[in-house]
């Protein structure tokens, strides 16, 4: 019986140490699991608008500096080439649209503290939806900016080139639309109830 109690005592000690070890063991899995889905969701919404505006601003400065310099020698390009700037700005508007759509999922504060699988899904969906839109619009804005810069310089040299290079810019700005379409589809099922 002493053995038995000794053995069960040892078992209890092992189980106890495993429980303690579980509480002490803290890796990436625990860390990511521990972040509230609300945090994921709000970060995603912020990224959607933040990265899109970054991309739009980047594009506007790339095309704007070339446009201003080229318009000194060739003032006729001033008004037409504002279209490039407008294309860049559209990228920021896409970001605003996605951010507003994402935040409509976040309008209710849920009273329970327990994290359900549905809430986790919603948190991740909104985060990555925001990332998709943000990164897609960032690249799109930069791309439209570089094309717009080339367009301004080419137009200053030879007026016939403007419309042809504008077609390239139209294709470039389609990239932003692809990004927000996917982002909106990703976030449709996200539901914090």
């Amino acid at each position: 019986e002493a053995e038995h109690s000794g053995a069960s005592g040892a078992m209890a000690a092992i189980v106890a140490s495993e429980v303690v070890a579980e509480e002490l063991f803290f890796g990436w899995g625990e860390l990511l699991n521990g972040i509230s889905p609300y945090a994921w969701a709000f970060i995603g919404t912020g990224l959607a608008i933040g990265l899109s505006v970054l991309g739009a601003a980047w594009g506007i400065f790339i095309t704007g500096s070339s446009l201003v310099g080229a318009a000194i020698k060739a003032p006729r390009i001033r008004s037409k080439n504002l279209i490039s700037v407008i294309f860049c700005e559209a990228v920021a508007i896409y970001g605003v649209i996605v951010a507003i759509i994402l935040q409509t999922h976040l309008e209710q504060v849920i009273k329970t503290t327990e994290v359900t699988p549905m809430m986790k899904y919603a948190g991740y969906a909104i985060f990555w939806s925001g990332m998709t839109a943000g990164l897609g619009n960032l690249s799109c804005g930069v791309c439209v900016g570089v094309c717009g810069s080339g367009c301004a310089l080419a137009d200053a040299q030879d007026g016939n080139l403007f419309v042809k290079i504008l077609v390239i810019e139209i294709f470039a700005s389609a990239l932003g639309i692809f990004a927000i379409i996917v982002a909106i589809i990703m976030s449709t099922k996200a539901n914090f109830e």
Binding site: I62, S65, S66, L67, G69, K73, V146, A156
Partner: protein, 362 residues
Amino acid sequence: MASMIYYNVDGGFLEAIARGFRSGILTAADYANLQQCDTVDDMKLQLQGTDYGNFLQSEPSPISTNTIAMKCTEKLVEEFNHMKVQAVEPLATFMEYVTYGYMIDNLMLIITGALHDRDTNELMAKCHPLGLFDGLSAASIPNTAKDLYEMVLVETPIGPYFVNVLNLWRSPQVGERQPGVEDLDELNIEIIRNSLYKAYLQDFYQFCMSECGDETAEIMGGILSLEADRRAINITINAFDTELSRDDKVKLYPTIGHLHPEGTARLALATDLDGVRAALDPYADYRNVLAEQGLGEEKSVENAFYELEVALNKDAFEQQFHFGLFWAYVKLREQEIRNIVWIAECIQQDQRHQIAQYINIF
């Protein structure tokens, strides 16, 4: 390639201005009109319709070709300085490098003129405005290379290049005089000129390859290689009748360029034009530079190189987001000034059969 996303922060405005200036370079149609002129004063009228505008307005007629050359150069310098003062690093350093070549030319002009006892003020008036620096007029005073360095050059940007010249002479053979004490005579002046230029080209090449981004490295690499090869070939051809030893010649060849090292080794061994042609044969670009001329046309080595240079400089404008086009713009405008002066001289001296030998740019 990555430079396209951040080049425009500092360089976008200036690049656009430079392209605006480039669009004003005279085209074939403008040259055709200029060729039709009867006198140099007619050329002034024709030039009014181009980007030059009324720059000759206040000159009394009859206008000499020297005046035209000077005023055209003045306009170029004005445009270049307009861009240079607005430049930020590393473009500012790049544009400084562009002026060093002219500084070296001005310095050699003053020294050579002083050797032949010309008046310093007269020489200063002939200096290229892009290459003026403090102390240039004092370059006529010293008699030895060492004094020249200590008095004039040590604080200028081309000072470091002169160190190579002194090093060049630091290894005298048995029985030779000590370097640096001899007077600046004809041969030594040529040696100084070529070693300064060699050091400048190598320094500029190093700068372009390391600090200006990939596109600039690619474009300026090609342009500076051509420059280095041209110097090597000119040194070889000009050294045929002088007492320049083979080792000294090899020391003057730049270590950049397509001809280095095999081509320059063969050039060093060449003793006449045929030897040079044989040395250049493996290089497709340079094979035709010394080709025997057919009937009628007479194309000098210089013109052949100018054509190659113009082709490379035109290509520099085909890419965006690099610094090469600032150099290319200056060189193309210089070629344009040479063309205008050539046409003016032909008209003035009534040698119309040679008038079409300028190099067309656009």
